[in-house]
Structure formats: structure tokens, C-alpha cells
């Protein structure tokens, strides 16, 4: 979403979208979370060069950064939520001691994961029915296969079972924000 603005001052020929595309390709190697910032900075410098007005350039850069950042974060969040919801639904169905396989396949073949899930405890509380479970994430194949285990708690909400792990203590947020 590049905001079109009336150009003022110098009319130097710069193509902002070419720079933007180049930068997006470059960040593919770096990591997805930085996409918004890189795209924004590229668009800002490009439009800043075209207008010589840094405030206009900045406005464009923030617009692009918001759009790209929000979109990529939304997609990753939706994927993770789908994975959490699927594991939580299996936790809801399972009885303690039974191991079941889980697998998630997204429309785009990225972050497809699979593993096992097992209930270790049913939490008795007057507020909600919750279960503590172990789940593994299996990566690689054959001899190079690795299996990492995690602990999770899920609770039954209205109609569905949902991931119930609360946020970490603020003192442990570190660079998570």
C-alpha cells in the first residue's frame, strides 16, 4: 500500500517499486519478521530521493511498513493458531496415557509440522476443565530425524479446546516484544 503523493522539488527518475521488490527478495534470506521494516525503509529512501522531502518519504515508508508487517505477522499468527487449535482439539479428545500423532498442513508448504501428543495430567479446577500434555515436533527424515518435546496446557472453552498457556512473566519477555 504505497500512498501516492504529489511529488515536489526535484523530479529525479527513481522507481520506488523496483527498489522495493529488490529489497523484498533480499530479505527472503534474512528472515520474515524483518520484511516490514526493510520494505518500509526501501520505499522511504526511494520516495525520499524522488521528492527530496524526507517527511513525504517517511510517510510512504511507514505506510508500506505497516501493510507488509501487519500482513506477514497476521499470516504467521494464523498458521500458528491453526497448529495450536489442532493440537488442542486432539488434547480434548485424548485420554491420559494414549499417544496420538498430529500433523498440520498449510495451503502454502511452509511451517508444515508433525509429531506426537500425549496427555500427562487432567487439571481439576472449579473454573474449567484443562489438560496438561506433552507434544513433540519431529523434523528431518531417516537417520537425521530429530524429535523435540514441549509441555502445553489446553482448556475447554465454550465449544472448543484452546491452547491455554498464558504469557511469560514480564521480567522474562526479553526480546520477545
Amino acid at each position: 500500500m504505497i500512498r501516492r503523493r504529489k511529488l515536489t522539488g526535484s523530479t529525479t527518475e527513481t522507481n520506488p517499486s523496483a527498489l522495493l521488490i529488490a529489497s523484498l527478495l533480499a530479505v527472503g534470506l534474512v528472515g520474515c519478521n524483518t520484511i516490514g521494516g526493510f520494505a518500509g525503509a526501501a520505499a522511504g529512501i526511494a520516495s525520499g530521493t524522488a521528492t527530496t522531502n524526507p517527511a513525504v518519504g517517511y510517510g510512504v515508508s511507514v505506510g508500506v511498513a505497516v501493510a507488509v508487517d501487519a500482513t506477514s505477522k497476521y499470516i504467521f499468527r494464523t498458521w500458528h493458531q491453526a497448529e495450536q487449535d489442532q493440537i488442542a482439539a486432539q488434547i480434548g479428545r485424548l485420554k491420559p496415557g494414549v499417544i496420538e500423532r498430529w500433523k498440520i498442513q498449510h495451503p502454502v508448504p511452509y511451517e508444515n509440522e508433525h509429531g506426537e501428543v500425549e496427555i500427562v495430567r487432567v487439571l481439576s479446577s472449579p473454573l474449567a476443565l484443562c489438560k496438561e500434555a506433552l507434544f513433540s515436533v519431529i523434523s528431518g527424515e531417516g537417520g537425521k530425524q530429530t524429535r523435540q518435546w514441549f509441555v502445553v496446557t489446553a482448556c475447554r472453552q465454550d465449544e472448543a479446546w484452546k491452547w491455554a498457556v498464558a504469557e511469560p512473566a514480564v521480567a522474562r519477555w526479553g526480546s520477545l516484544q
Binding site: 527530496t52 517527511a55 511507514v62 501487519a70 472449579p126 473454573l127 491455554a164 498457556v165 512473566a169
Partner: protein, 163 residues
């Protein structure tokens, strides 16, 4: 931007909104000092980072307040007892929240007492929405005289898009 953010409560817009205002302000000031757009935009980005840090600090304060409150209330509870909690934030960057909390287990180590708590965030019924309760599980530990939130951060392998 600020008004839109407070209505939708969308942290992404709030985040960029704060940065946007500060950044454009910084860039406009820089414009009078230098004609070099890239340099001026660089100054804008610097101001933007400072504004972002300010907002993140406010979000931390807000969450700390909520965690401390729930921990204090749950710290006094025996397993199975239910209490209510309600928080009104001093900085209105997040909605005021309320819910219930109970203790599901006592976890004790040597000279250390902790509790596993189940808490709800309750949303009241509105015109076209039925009331909803979201449940979460956390751990609290007694630190000298105060109860504090003790849930650690997720494994870095599970951070995904958290950062």
C-alpha cells in the same frame, strides 16, 4: 491514528501510529537542517525507534500490573477456591479486563512455594455477542513476601512470529 488504535485495540497500528507521528516529526525537523533525504529519513528512523521503545515500555508496565494483581489474589487462595480479579489500566493502551482465578495445584520445592493457577478473562454480553470466558494456565511463586508471575518464556524454537 491514535483514535483508530484505541477503537480497534490493534497493537500493530498502535505501534506504527506512535512511530509514525514521532518519525514524521523527526524527519520534518531534520529537513530544515539537511537537504539529503536519506540522511533525514535516517534521523526519522532514529526517532521512530525511540518512540517504539516508549510504547513497548508502556505495554510492559500494563502487563506487569495485570500479572501482579492476579498473582496477589491467587497467592491468598487455597486450591479449589475461586476469586475474581479486575484491572483498570492507568495508561489506556489496553482494555480494562476482569475475570476469575483459582488454584489448581501447589508446586513446592526446597524453600520455595509456587502455585499453578487457572484464570479466566471474561467478556460481558453485548448486543450481538454472547458472554465469553477464555481460560489460561500460569504459574506463580512467592518471592520473599510477594507473589509473582513465574511462567517462563516459550522455547525459542516455538517463538515463531512472536518477536
Amino acid at each position: 491514528m491514535w483514535i483508530a488504535a484505541s477503537v480497534c485495540g490493534c497493537s500493530s497500528f498502535l505501534r506504527e501510529g506512535t512511530a509514525d507521528l514521532a518519525g514524521v516529526g523527526g524527519a520534518a525537523v531534520a529537513d530544515s537542517v539537511t537537504d539529503n533525504a536519506a540522511v533525514a529519513t535516517g534521523i526519522g528512523l532514529g526517532v521512530r525507534s525511540a518512540a517504539m521503545a516508549g510504547l513497548q515500555y508502556a505495554q510492559r508496565k500494563t502487563h506487569q500490573q495485570q500479572q501482579d494483581l492476579i498473582a496477589q489474589i491467587a497467592g491468598k487462595l487455597e486450591p479449589g477456591a475461586v476469586a475474581t480479579w479486575q484491572v483498570s489500566h492507568q495508561v489506556p493502551i489496553e482494555d480494562d479486563e476482569r475475570g476469575r482465578v483459582t488454584v489448581s495445584r501447589i508446586i513446592s520445592g526446597q524453600n520455595l512455594i509456587c502455585k499453578e493457577i487457572v484464570f479466566s478473562v471474561d467478556t460481558a454480553a453485548e448486543a450481538n455477542r454472547k458472554p465469553q470466558s477464555d481460560f489460561y494456565v500460569a504459574t506463580i511463586c512467592r518471592d520473599a513476601t510477594r507473589w509473582k508471575w513465574a511462567s517462563a518464556e516459550p522455547a525459542t524454537e516455538r517463538w515463531g512470529a512472536l518477536q
